[in-house]
């Protein structure tokens, strides 16, 4: 029997009102790649934070290489050779790669940082594992995949033998994922143990040696990838039958709701962000806009809504010239908006739900009567309907938004936006970071609204979602539309290669 690198037994962690981990067990063998799967909110991240010393467990036993340990801080975890790469990178943009790597663990000679030694050590380390980065580049100039490699080198530099990667592929495009997997295999070959969180099942099956599935804070099973299919895994995660973005009968009409001609926007530094974008969306149609983050999709949505000005080009909304509309005008004319960053752009966290429901409708009935008076009773009734219809799990409409889970916050936003009198929905990453159940509900809501004649511009990083929901797919790269694809024919891999500019399309097919 091989030794266990990590063994967790009966780990329990309670948060107010929630049991994040309920007697979770986990056995990770030395030198394996171990995937931890589960829905959002299943307790994966909490478990990893406990193992990394960021949070204490309420109950349970942790063993590393057979020895029982108690961790009070990440520093102690690092001393035991455990390193963690967080989902959101923790790098200082204005420092170089080298400076970031040694930050907090600087090699020094009589109080002066020994950059020469650091440079040598890290170069050796990086080449040993095939982790290519330019040590003297500023972190702010790096692509996402490179940043991730910096994070991995950072933990290796601190001597980690057990690496925890929290959703490492969530931010990567397909070819970057392959590079990451190559690095992971290399690390494994050199005797490291890797634990990683993921919910993209095909990836999990491709790379792991073992898979532990967590559901609702409990360990459901530990399986070998050769024994299961993606479907089996998904059912283990969800515990019931699966949602699927799934294409349905087309409901596209010939009524043009949104028509963009040569739309161009300019960033704060004067560079074009969105370049000469033209397309239209019809009533009853979902148009998906694919693209790696930072290629102008977000700015396009903000320009259409009126948050950012349009430099050149024209926007027609239901036949009216909407090029210079500000947000309020757009909202009143019937645009709904599901923002990418719901907490920063779509919610008032400390305000009650009914005031959140009112956000974006604060000039409209039923929230407003006689021009400017808020009608709290009507607003509350409206919110209660949204809560009912969109299955928002909350005791009532008076609790603050921050009391809801992410999925329920999202359902509230989606419900609130779709229950207004709108003809266009601008949906940016509508299911990002919410669990499978809530995701299925949002998909269903979008499909229903589409059948009722809503025009939807859908931006998403989830390629399956884009392909599954869209009637038409556009790909944005460096601010331009570089391809128009038929979602019925395209595979995520093809889509990915367009998104990274690896493939280009001469003319729109």
């Amino acid at each position: 029997m091989s030794t266990l690198a990590v063994e967790l037994e009966g780990i329990t962690k309670r948060f107010p009102g929630v049991i994040a981990n309920d007697k979770v067990g986990l056995r990770v063998e030395d030198g394996e790649i171990h995937a931890i799967c589960g829905e959002n909110g299943a307790g994966k991240s909490t478990l990893m934070k406990i193992l990394y010393g960021m949070q204490p467990a309420d109950e349970g036993v942790m063993k590393v290489r057979g020895e029982e340990i108690v961790l009070r801080s990440p520093t102690e975890a690092i001393a035991l050779g455990i390193g963690m790469v967080h989902q959101h990178f923790m790098l200082a943009d204005n420092l170089t790669v080298l400076e970031n790597i040694i930050l907090g663990a600087e090699p020094a000679r009589s109080g002066v940082i020994d950059f020469k030694k650091a440079h040598e050590d890290i170069t050796r380390l990086a080449s040993d594992y095939g982790l290519n980065v330019e040590l003297d580049d500023l972190v702010e100039t790096l692509e996402v995949g490179e940043r991730q490699r910096v994070e991995i080198i950072k933990v290796l530099y601190r001597g980690a033998k057990i690496l925890i990667l929290d959703e490492p592929t969530a931010v990567l495009v397909p070819h970057e994922v392959e590079a990451l997997f190559q690095n992971m295999r290399e690390l494994k070959a050199q005797g490291h143990t890797i634990m990683f969180i993921d919910h993209k099942l095909s990836e999990v099956l491709e790379i792991s040696d073992s898979i532990t599935v967590i559901r609702r804070g409990k360990t459901v099973a530990t399986v070998k990838p050769e024994d299961v299919t993606a479907r089996d895994l998904a059912e283990l995660m969800v515990g019931s039958e699966l949602p699927d973005p799934g294409t349905q009968l087309a409901t596209v009409t010939d009524k043009v709701v949104l028509d963009l001609t040569g739309v161009t926007t300019v960033g704060p530094d004067g560079r074009d962000i969105v370049k000469n974008v033209s397309f239209s969306i019809h009533a009853g149609e979902i148009v998906g806009v694919a693209g790696v983050e930072g290629n102008g999709q977000g700015e396009l949505v903000e320009a259409v809504l009126g948050i950012n000005p349009i430099e050149k080009g024209k926007v027609l909304f239901n036949g009216e010239d909407a090029t210079d509309w500000k947000v309020r005008r757009s909202r009143e004319a019937g645009m709904g908006y599901i923002p990418e960053d719901r907490q920063r752009r779509g919610l008032l966290l400390s305000a009650p739900l009914w005031e959140n429901d009112m956000l974006g409708h604060q000039t409209l009935a039923p929230f407003i009567e006689r021009g400017f008076w808020i009608d709290p009773d009507a607003a509350r009734r409206h919110t209660e309907e949204v809560i009912d219809k969109f299955d928002v799990r909350t005791p009532n409409a008076l609790v603050s938004a921050h009391a809801l889970s992410g999925g329920n916050q999202q359902k509230l936003i989606v419900g609130s936006q779709m229950s207004g009198d709108i003809s266009l929905l601008l949906a940016a990453h509508p299911t990002a970071g919410i669990d499978v159940g809530a995701q299925a509900a949002v998909w269903e809501d979008l499909r229903t609204a589409r059948a009722a004649g809503l025009a939807v511009m859908l931006i998403s990083a989830d390629l399956d979602e884009l392909i599954g929901l869209s009637d038409r797919l556009l790909v944005m790269f460096h601010g331009e539309i570089v391809a128009e694809l038929d979602p019925a024919k395209v595979t995520p891999r093809e889509l990915g290669s367009y998104m990274t500019g690896a493939s280009a399309q001469g003319d729109h097919s």
Binding site: K326, R328, R344, L347, F372
Partner: protein, 361 residues
């Protein structure tokens, strides 16, 4: 709802208690019996004549608190109420002494002048913030100095009756009698009367409450205060809202000195009451930016201010002890509110998740 009220009330109560305990320690250290000092204060402070004085003092404190609270509602820290009300008072006094209209017109003219001056002075900070990104704390502090030490001092000389003497009696001409606010009743053989300006204060408070809580502009203001980015995505114009808030805050600040000016002083002079703008910050903080809270805390601060006089008179303790107490009240209130807010959020989270568990099982 009930938990909200419970936590809202707990915080100021804890703050006052902490202040009493802390001041007692200080009093003991200076060799004074805290019980005696406090009972003297209580005895003096509960007399009718004192209470009328306290109410008179509460009026500007309350209005100042409202002015600050409007800014706080959208996370704007208007420290400039001080400069705004003093500048407003001197200009309004000048206008009031230059014309003599029938009472309703005269009073309207004076009040509108004061509000306009306050709004413009405060709006300046708003424009600086939206056009040049100057933080309002910095700009309002600067504007205070310019208003009080600069503009007001200059205007006082220029407009004074004796043509610019340096005497402590320097004052502007008296405001025409049609612009005066009468006292409602007097106590202590006519020595102290309650200013009828209290009605203006009540109107200001009620309008503030309905504007902020029940109109869509107030909603925009509050939404911007909670999350400027979310508000922007909902259609709020952030710059316009900043200026609106500063202008409204300044307009109300303009009224702060009016009770004193129009009821008692009837002219602007060198001894015109100062510091109320800063007290307003404390009033708004302790009062949690809501109408009832501001009313109560204005009264509390006014009572401490007036009743503390007795400590000195009877030789119990230096009046500074009350200043100390006021400081502790503010500090303790801020801490207690933060703690209570966290507790309330936790409890809300707990009840929310309990309710969800009930639904799903």
């Amino acid at each position: 709802m009930i938990t909200r009220i419970k936590y809202t009330l707990a915080a100021p109560a804890i703050a006052l208690l902490a202040a009493v305990i802390f001041s007692s320690v200080v009093l003991l250290a200076t060799g004074v019996s805290p019980i005696e000092a406090f009972s003297n204060m209580a005895e003096y402070g509960s007399r009718g004549v004192t209470l009328v004085a306290v109410l008179n003092r509460s009026i500007p404190f309350f209005i100042s608190g409202i002015a600050v609270a409007i800014g706080f509602k959208m996370n704007l820290f208007n420290i400039g109420v001080e400069g705004q009300y003093i500048l407003a008072a001197i200009v309004a006094a000048k206008v009031g002494s230059s014309v003599d209209l029938p009472a309703p017109l005269q009073i309207t003219l004076i009040l509108v002048t004061a509000m306009t001056v306050g709004a413009l002075w405060s709006g300046l900070a708003g424009v600086m913030k939206t056009s040049r990104g100057v933080h309002e704390v910095i700009s309002t502090i600067m504007l205070n100095a310019i208003a009080v030490a600069g503009v007001t001092a200059f205007l006082l000389r220029r407009w004074s009756v004796d043509g610019g003497s340096q005497s402590l009696e320097t004052k502007l001409p008296e405001i025409s009698e049609s612009g005066w606010f009468p006292v409602l009743f007097t106590v202590d053989n006519g020595r102290v009367g309650l200013s009828s300006f209290i009605f203006v204060a009540i109107v200001v408070g009620v309008v503030f409450h309905f504007f902020v809580e029940r109109t869509r502009w107030g909603y925009d203001l509050r939404a911007t205060g909670i999350s400027a980015t979310s508000a922007e995505s909902s259609g709020v114009n952030p710059k316009r809202t900043v200026i609106l808030a500063m202008v409204l805050s300044g307009a109300i600040a303009g009224l702060v000195g009016m009770s004193e000016l129009l009821t008692f002083e009837h002219n602007y002079n060198l001894r015109f009451v100062q510091g109320i703008g800063f007290t307003g910050i404390a009033v708004a903080l302790l009062g949690r930016n809501n109408l009832a809270g501001i009313a109560v805390s204005a009264f509390v601060f006014a009572w401490l201010d007036v009743a503390s006089g007795v400590l000195e008179v009877r030789g119990d303790a230096p009046r500074a002890v009350v200043g100390l107490m006021t400081g502790v009240v503010i500090l303790a209130a801020v801490i207690a509110y933060a703690v209570m807010e966290r507790k309330r959020a936790e409890e809300e989270l707990r009840t929310a998740s309990e309710a969800i568990e009930e639904v799903s099982t």
